[in-house]
Symmetry: C2
Subunit: 187 residues, 2 copies
Amino acid sequence: MNSLKDKTDQILKAAVAVFIKKGLQATTQEIAKEADVAEVTLYRKFATKQNLFISVIKHVLENQFNSKVMKLADEADTEYFFRKIIENRLEVLSKNTPLVKMLISESLMGNLTEEIDLPKLIFTSLKNGLDHHFAGDNVDTELCARQLGGIFLSHIVLPNEQPFHHLDEGDKEIVIDKYTRSVMALL
Amino acid sequence: MNSLKDKTDQILKAAVAVFIKKGLQATTQEIAKEADVAEVTLYRKFATKQNLFISVIKHVLENQFNSKVMKLADEADTEYFFRKIIENRLEVLSKNTPLVKMLISESLMGNLTEEIDLPKLIFTSLKNGLDHHFAGDNVDTELCARQLGGIFLSHIVLPNEQPFHHLDEGDKEIVIDKYTRSVMALL
DNA sequence: AATGAATGTTAGTAATTACTAACACAAAAT
DNA sequence: ATTTTGTGTTAGTAATTACTAACATTCATT
C-alpha cells in the first residue's frame, strides 16, 4: 500500500502529462492511473476535473513560463533587447512544445478563456515589456508585440523540428539576427 | 414534413457551423438538429462522426481557402508580391476567424493530422509560392514562409478585433506596409 | 396505380465517464 | 491508546453519446 504522504503534487505532475497528451478530454481515470492514486483521491483534492485542469494550467504558467521580457526591457540597446527576447522565448518554447500546443488548442476551443486568457497573457506580457523599453518614444508597441508573438507562434504551429536543433550555433545566430531585423523594421 | 431533396449539403452546412463552435466534440445530435434532419440521415450519408468531420474540413479547405500565393508569385516586384500576399491572407482569415481557430485547435490536438496536415498545408503553400518567385535567387524561403505564417497566426491566436476593423484605410495600408518591410528584412 | 428512393420515427444498445457513498485501513498526531 | 487524517476499495448512479434496427411515410418516377 502507498504511503500517506500528500498526493497532491503526484496528481498534479501526472495531470500535466496526461492533459498534454489529450487536453481537457483526458479522463480522471487516466490521470489517477498515471499518478498511481485512487480516482477518488483526485476528486477529494480537486473536486472536479475542470478544477484540476485549471489548477494544472495555473501551476505550469507560474513555474515554467516566467517571462524575462520585463527584465530585459531596461536594456538600452533595442537590437540587443529584441534579440534576447527572441532567443529566450524560442528557447523556452522549444522545451515545452507539446505543453504549449495543448494550451493554445484549449484556449482556441474556449476551454480556459474565463479563468485564464492565454492570448492576452502572452500579448500583454510582450507589450508591457515593449512599452517599458520604448517609454516616451513613438513606437507602435502593439504591432511589435503582435509580430513577436507571431514569430513564437510560427514555431509552435507550423511544421518544424525543435527550433534550431538542426542548425549549428552559427546558423542559429543568423536566424535570430534576421528575426531581430524583421522586428526592427516595424519601428 | 420535409421535402425529399438530398440533405447532404444541408448537413454539411450545419456541421460546419456546429463544428466551428464545439470542434470534434460536437455531437451528431446537435448537428442533426441544426441541419433539421434526423440523426440517422446523417449516419446514412457519412457513416461516422469522424468521417463527417473530415468531409467538412476538406470541403471548407477547398471552397474557402484557395490560396492566391501561386498566382501572385509571378509578380516581378518582390515588395508588391509580399504586400499582396499579406493583404489577401489577412482578408481571408479575418472573414473566417472562428473556423480557422477551430482548425488550428483540432490540428494541435492531433485530431486531423492523419488525414489533413494543416500546418504543412499552410506552410508549403507559402513556401511553394516563395520558391517560385525567388527561383534562382539565394533566399531562405523557409524562413520567409515561417515569418509570413507567423503574421497570420498572430492575427488568429493573439487578442485582436477583426484585423483592421478599427483602422481606416490609410492606417491599414501603413500596417501592411510595415509587415511587408518586416518580411523583406529577412532577405 | 405501383414502385423505389430518401427520409423520418421510435426504440434501443453498449460503452464511457464525471462524480458520490460507505466502509476499511494505515500511519501520524494527540 | 485513541483520535484524526489521508488514502484505498468497492460499488454504484445518472447522464451522455456514437451508432443500429425496424418500420413508417412521403415524394418522384414509371
